[in-house]
């Protein structure tokens, strides 16, 4: 079981990022989220979602999913995104195992239904 992201449905609203961090912090913040809306290519209207699992970083790009094993050398042809840097230091997705009433918070709160439980 895991999180499935449709980057073409994503509207870059950051709801996933907020509720994921809430699940960690019990307050409102963005600092601890293991899922983030990447939005550093604003001028190019290029956005999607980054998800950190225990040993992989999933990049849900509009053109498709990319799965990077953490610790392996990054593809030199692809420029790193500013949003990706702090992600590697964060805890991986635990599917909000302690949030019994909700399941994964990013799935429950995504206004665009771009995130599902797979």
């Amino acid at each position: 079981m895991g999180i499935k992201i449709n980057a073409l449905k994503c509207t870059n609203c950051m709801a996933c990022e907020m509720v994921c961090s809430y699940h960690r912090d019990d307050g409102f913040a963005f600092l601890s989220a293991c899922i983030v809306a990447y939005r550093a290519r604003e001028r190019k209207d290029y956005f999607g979602v980054l998800l950190k699992e225990d040993d992989v970083l999933i990049v849900a790009r509009p053109e498709g999913l990319e799965i990077n094993k953490i610790g392996e050398e990054a593809d030199p042809d692809k420029e790193a995104d500013a949003s990706a840097k702090p992600m590697l230091l964060r805890e991986g997705c635990d599917l909000c195992e302690d949030m019994d009433d909700y399941g994964p918070m990013c799935v429950a709160f995504c206004p665009a239904d771009a995130i599902e439980l797979d």
Binding site: A15, Y22, R43, E63, A82, F109, P111
Partner: protein
């Protein structure tokens, strides 16, 4: 103020080049709630110094649907009225997480400056190298200087520096809802603008209840059929405009939403790139992000192709000028004429009602009728809806679409979030003060 707040008000004196902080007293929140309730209070408090007051709503940056908005409250140099401009995209949220609920700017700097607000720290920084640069250049330069592409900016361009009545304060690279000439106001203070970045934590009094109710409200919101649509074209169509889809579709790339806002009301147009491109464009400036319905419509009605309209909007965003004013008042019909006319536009823009809220938002409901009857009632409803949205920090366009975002549930969430009992009587009193 312990909850839903940074507990801090920033006071910046440009004359003295000094920065002070004040605590946000909970008593004030009990009386003024937040957003433009507070910015109006702060404007009045420092009225003799004709301040520019930036603020966030009490619910801004939380899980309440569409809690995206901040506000600029100041006296318009064009109309002479104290007006309230919504702060949209992700900028309102960044202001709060950068460490301040409210920012009061007094006075005039002797030389150009910008205000760098980050993680609870505020600096008045030299803007000599930014002055003269357009909005895009200045935003890019600040992001490069700080080394953070997520830096959020609120800047003026040449229009504001040159004192145009139609100068806008722009947000990041894009035009804003500023129809009040606040760009001219910034320029007159030698203030290039603000850069914001922060990773703060906002405490909640009853976090579990707050989040649970947020989700219940979101689920009600998602029952709306209009949420199957995206972008500016469906809004214009719902407002009775014809042929918008056919006109704009050939250059439409994607649509994006403001923070936590269920409707994606920002439309990106690709002008120098294939609009169907999914990969990241290799071009530096493939297009423009548009949030201004009426500017877009103005160019359409002037006979522009959607591509030329996008190019005109991009030029306006760079110059930091209100694209609606350009479309309506310039009388020009080609891109070259438009850009050549920026410094010579004259005429008046009509602002509905009391003239204190931006007609960037439609002056009535969108997609839903909210049970309204009669035009007089509609303007009164619109002004109250705008006021309430900007007290709580709700994206003011989305609040015109969505009846499920009620005053009752905004008050309920504000009370849950702060542990302060906020009543309809308090809200009515705050709205009355704002509306005069």
């Amino acid at each position: 103020m312990e909850y839903l707040s940074t507990d801090k008000i920033l006071i910046i004196d440009l004359n003295a080049a000094e920065v002070e902080e004040e605590d946000l007293d909970e008593t004030l929140v009990k009386e003024k709630i937040g957003g433009i309730g507070m910015t109006t209070y702060l404007y009045d408090k420092y009225k003799e110094e004709d301040p520019i007051v930036i603020g966030t709503g009490l619910l801004t940056g939380t899980t309440y649907p569409a809690s995206a908005s901040g506000q600029i409250t100041a006296k318009s140099p064009v109309t002479g009225k104290v007006c309230h401009c919504p702060v949209i995209y992700k900028l309102g949220v960044e202001i709060k997480y950068a460490g301040f609920d409210y920012i009061v700017v007094k006075g005039r700097s002797e030389s150009p400056v910008y205000l760098w607000i980050h993680d609870g720290v505020a600096d008045i920084s030299d803007a000599a190298d930014l002055w003269g640069k357009d909005v895009w250049e200045a935003t890019d330069e600040l992001r490069k200087f700080v080394g953070d592409d997520l830096l959020q900016t609120m800047l003026i361009g040449p229009a504001g520096e040159n004192g145009s009545d139609y100068a806008q304060v722009c947000y990041n690279h894009w035009n804003s809802p500023d129809r009040f000439g606040f760009g001219k106001l910034f320029g007159s203070r030698n203030l290039k603008g603000f850069a914001f970045r922060g990773m703060g934590l906002i405490e909640v009094a009853e976090p579990e209840d707050y989040v649970e109710r947020s989700l219940e409200i979101l689920k009600e919101v998602k029952e709306n059929k209009f949420l199957g649509k995206k972008g500016l074209a469906p809004i214009l169509t719902a407002l009775g405009e014809e042929g918008v889809d056919e006109w704009i579709d050939p250059v439409t790339h994607r649509h994006s939403a403001d923070y936590f806002t269920p409707y994606a009301s920002n439309t990106a147009l690709f002008l120098d790139e294939d609009p169907g491109l999914l990969e990241e464009s290799k071009k530096e400036e493939p297009g423009v992000l548009v949030s201004d319905l009426y500017a877009l419509l103005g160019f359409k009605n002037s006979g522009f192709s959607a591509k030329d309209a996008g190019s005109a909007l991009k030029a306006c965003a760079k110059y930091g000028i209100d694209p609606f004013a350009v479309a309506k008042l310039s009388g020009k019909t080609t891109l070259e004429e438009i850009t050549a006319s920026f410094d010579s536009i004259s005429g008046e823009i009509t602002i509905p009602g009391r003239g204190i809220f931006s007609p960037w938002c439609p002056a009535g409901p969108v997609f839903n009728d909210f049970g309204l009857a009669g035009e007089d009632g509609t303007i009164a409803w619109w002004e109250r809806r705008q006021a309430v949205s900007m007290i709580f920090g709700i994206q003011p366009m989305f609040s015109l679409m969505c009846p499920e975002l009620t005053e009752e549930n905004m008050l309920e969430l504000a009370s849950l979030g702060t542990d302060i009992e906020l009543t309809r009587e308090t809200l009515d009193a705050v709205v009355d003060t704002i509306l005069g």
